[in-house]
Amino acid sequence: MLERLSQGPASVSELGKPLSMSLAAVLQHVQILETSGLVQSRKLGRTRTCSLNARSLRSAERWISERRTYVEQRLDRLGEYLAETTDQPGSGHTGPATPQAPARNQEEDP
């Protein structure tokens, strides 16, 4: 339904067509989506037209994209951290010798 609505507004019967659901069942789904804020609908005459609530979807999309940005920023920081410290040849898991993090490998082995 959301996929169909992402292409533009549609009536309840148009939404139900590819789903082989009764009109009542489709209407119930629409009402659920409406309550969740994802979809809004308007009744014109005998037809109820539904459309996506772009604001609500954008909110989730922004959240997801900011989550991704956050991970990217952290991995950039990891790069800086690794550059500030050095590999010790043959040291295996021995961490970098920074005074700030002397205990960094203590919990490494499960």
Partner: protein, 157 residues
Amino acid sequence: MTERSVIHDTFVIERTYPASASRVFAAFASREAKDAWGDTGDIAEAEPATGPVEFDFRVGGHERFGNVYQGITFTYDATYYDIVPDQRLVYSYEMYADGLRSSVSVATIEFVETDDGTTLTWTEQGAYLDGFDGQDAPRLRQGGTSEMLDGLAKYLA
């Protein structure tokens, strides 16, 4: 009755570091190391939340912490499922805002040593629940949602 919505997403991020796989892996393997590089410096406004703080880096172990930002308590609760030293990490985590579960995700971090160092691949699959505009969380709609999400994104992992 509260109605629900879910939005699914997967993202993949790849980085290559001029360091051995064991050193990159070690950066994830202790709280001290994670704190050393995880701080993005923009968390001055956030305050620690009262609640469990845990870093139990072993299969079945939890990582938990929380903070308060703009009056909302955010908590992070992760469970480690797979730990292959120097090669792979799989964990799931839940995020809560004021006690409401807002997302459930699976993160897989792979470490592959190459001639250039170590390639890290971070794959994260998430189910984002009820949106931030959902009627479940009316408080989240108040004030600058974007700023709040910024703070959440920067502070919680």
